[in-house]
């Protein structure tokens, strides 16, 4: 059987899978009755409803022709931006918090901003080193002024081994 709408097919599967997972998880908690709802009651109902809904969406995607007739293809994934944006975010987190399990010290906010700007910029179509460096300097100055001086947010600003 051919898939009429790829988008709907996979979103349906996703709903079903997540619904089943939540409903199954809910059975680990006491479900109770309507008058005395346990912690599992509401998630169990929601999970079952969502799983059923997901199967309806999947079923429809196999049978009903989508309105625009274009086949509703998902299209290619933008792996490059996906990778670099998420990586930039993770590296920023590592710079702020460090990773105690492998004794990676916290490098602080300023290092984090530079790392984030360079990695995130890789996600774009153009990457000019000089331009990105200037951007990183501007963003560091702005963030320092706004978040540390003005709003007094609690951040490790410099690497832990310098301030300790």
């Amino acid at each position: 059987m051919a898939i009429k709408s790829q988008k709907d097919f996979f979103s349906g599967l996703l709903f079903t899978a997540v619904g089943v997972a939540f409903a199954w998880g809910a059975t680990n908690y006491s479900v109770g009755t309507g008058a005395r709802m346990g912690p599992g009651y509401f998630p169990l109902i929601l999970g079952i409803c969502m799983a059923l809904l997901g199967s309806v969406i999947t079923f429809k995607s196999l049978v009903v022709e989508p309105a625009d007739g274009a086949g509703d293809k998902i299209g290619s994934f933008a792996w490059k931006p996906l990778f670099y944006i998420i990586a930039a975010n993770l590296v920023f987190g590592l710079s702020i918090g460090g990773l105690p399990s492998i004794k990676l010290p916290a490098m602080g906010l300023i290092f984090g901003i530079f790392a984030l700007t360079f990695i995130a910029s890789k996600a774009g179509e153009e990457f000019k080193f000089k331009e990105v460096a200037i951007l990183a300097v501007i963003l560091s100055l702005m963030s320092y002024a706004a978040f540390i001086l003005l709003l007094k947010l609690q951040f490790p600003v410099w690497p832990a081994f310098l301030t300790a």
Binding site: F15, G34, R36, P39, Y41, A78, A120, E125
Partner: protein
């Protein structure tokens, strides 16, 4: 008149230098993000929430509200000049607004949008002030069953007005409700779905979801498009003043847009986007006058009406939030979060327990609208310059502000790992055509719904008929059912699809 006393109290609060400053900052930021395509009020409010911790609650809410309605102004600038909606609610402004700019009439188009928004904003604020007191009295009659039914109505409204597939929107609501249940159950103390991760027993932060899905997801999807799809076009703007003829056409359109927007804003699930769509549809249905430019070719009514409607709706959508404590759309859901951060429980008691906050916020909206018209008309040149900033400088900054915002909510790197996950999930949503706004609404309402359902059924000893035997609750459910039926009617559903394909 009590209303005037209340408003006087509100203006007293709003006119203090500090609150004036935050109203200005909010409006400025709102315009900024409204002008910039690819970042909307949702992500911005989520980003700035942590920064408001240190502020007094009134100032914080004044600023956040300014961002929301400010974005409705800024969005029209981009729509007219760049042929891109700067903000989702300006989608229809693009159609006629950009055509006017092509014909060298960018100035009058911007003026129509600005003046229309200003008028609508003032009316919206008055409606909000006038309806707040009576609605609050109704709210005190609400028991758990009514609250549950009202939330059902709100969620149905969100589904009906969502663009794209109805079924998928329902699915997103379920997903949001379930995600909202993660964490410690208030009644039994059981940590649900926390997988023994201590941070998860507090639940997932809504900032994490908003930022991941709306911030990162959008950026990744934008970068995935080719540069040519992000058309940039800067027009000369000269002669802001619309002609007499323009005014003659504009005024009734603005009036229609304002009343429509004010009504749709109050309805649960309604909001700025739908109001703009509906207003444009109505204008298109009215007959063209002799010598008038047809729609789609630069008709000034096609700019004035939707812009008035989206601004009126953005003001009146505060009504359900402030009187019932129920957010009617995703941005208002974030405002619930903002209020809880400051230990204010949204609901009918806000007006009596925090009158300065309640009336101060309302008064600040009027001041904010006055600031916005100055920001957006005489100072339009600044925003035009801003539109020429390349995206490759903007998106790293947005990524940075998201990361900083997420971290500073709890000063915990765990939230940064979570936002990475939701960034990937958000991109997947976009690829699969799953609209994320209903998810956020469900997420905020999840715990509230469970609590009210539990209480209602406890009081009725497990009898589900309580939702239809109590008059108020039954009528709310009836409206919800009616909405669903109307949308599912073949003729309406076909029209609805057409309306959204026009995007």
């Amino acid at each position: 008149m009590e209303l005037f006393n209340n408003l006087a109290l509100g203006f007293g609060v709003a006119f203090t230098p500090i609150n004036l400053m935050y109203a200005f900052v909010g409006c400025l930021l709102g315009t900024l993000i409204g002008v910039l395509p690819g970042i909307g009020p949702l992500a911005t409010i989520a980003m700035l929430l942590p920064a408001t911790y240190a502020l007094p609650p009134v100032s914080a809410l004044i600023m956040l509200a300014g961002i929301y309605y400010g974005a409705q102004y800024g969005g029209s600038t981009t729509a007219v000049l760049v042929n891109l909606p700067g903000e989702a609610s300006s989608v229809v402004t693009v159609i006629d607004g950009h055509q006017m700019a092509r014909n060298g009439r960018a100035g009058p188009a911007l003026a129509a949008a600005g003046l229309g928004s200003f008028f609508a904003g003032c009316v919206g604020t008055l409606v909000l002030a006038a309806f707040a007191v009576p609605l609050t009295e109704v709210a005190f009659k609400f028991g758990p069953a009514e609250y549950f039914s009202l939330m059902i109505l709100g969620l149905v409204g969100a589904v009906v007005l969502a663009s794209g597939s109805l079924l998928k929107a329902v699915g997103m609501i379920f997903l949001g409700l379930l995600l909202g249940l993660i964490g410690t159950d208030v009644n039994s103390g059981v940590a649900r779905y926390s997988f023994d991760i201590p941070e998860l027993t507090d639940g997932i932060g809504f900032i994490v979801i908003a930022m991941g899905v709306f911030g990162y997801g959008e950026i990744i999807s934008n970068l995935g498009k080719h540069e040519s799809e992000r058309e940039v076009f800067t027009a000369d703007v000269k002669g802001l003043m619309p002609t007499k003829e323009d005014f003659r056409l504009m005024v009734p359109a603005v009036l229609r847009g304002t009343s429509l927007g004010a009504v749709l804003g109050i309805l649960p699930g309604g909001g700025a986007v739908m109001a703009a769509f509906a207003a444009y549809t109505i204008e298109k249905k009215t007959k063209l006058q002799a010598g008038e430019v047809p729609f789609g070719k630069g008709n000034i009514r096609g700019v004035a009406a939707p812009e008035a409607a989206n601004n009126a709706a953005s003001q009146t959508s505060f009504i359900p939030l402030l009187t019932l404590g129920i957010p009617p759309n995703a941005v208002m859901a974030l405002m619930v979060g903002a209020m809880t951060i400051h230990n204010i429980q949204p609901g009918p008691q806000v007006m009596t327990s925090n009158p300065e906050l309640f009336w101060g916020l309302i008064a600040s909206m009027w001041i904010g609208n006055a600031m916005l018209i100055i920001l957006n008309l005489p100072l339009i040149g600044i925003w035009i310059k801003l539109l020429s900033v390349p995206y490759r400088w903007l998106f790293p900054a947005i990524v940075l502000f998201c990361a900083i915002g997420v971290y500073s909510t709890n000063n915990n790197t765990f939230d940064i790992w979570m936002v990475a996950i939701f960034g990937v999930v958000g991109y997947l949503f976009i690829k699969l055509g799953m609209e994320p706004a209903p998810l956020l609404l469900g997420f905020i309402l999840g715990p509230m719904m469970e609590e009210n359902l539990r209480r209602a059924l406890l009081l009725s000893r497990g009898d589900w008929s309580v939702f239809v035997t109590r008059g108020l609750s039954a009528s709310l459910l009836a409206v919800a059912a009616l909405l669903l039926v109307v949308v599912l009617l073949p003729s309406v559903s076909k029209k609805r699809e057409e309306a959204f394909i026009e995007e």
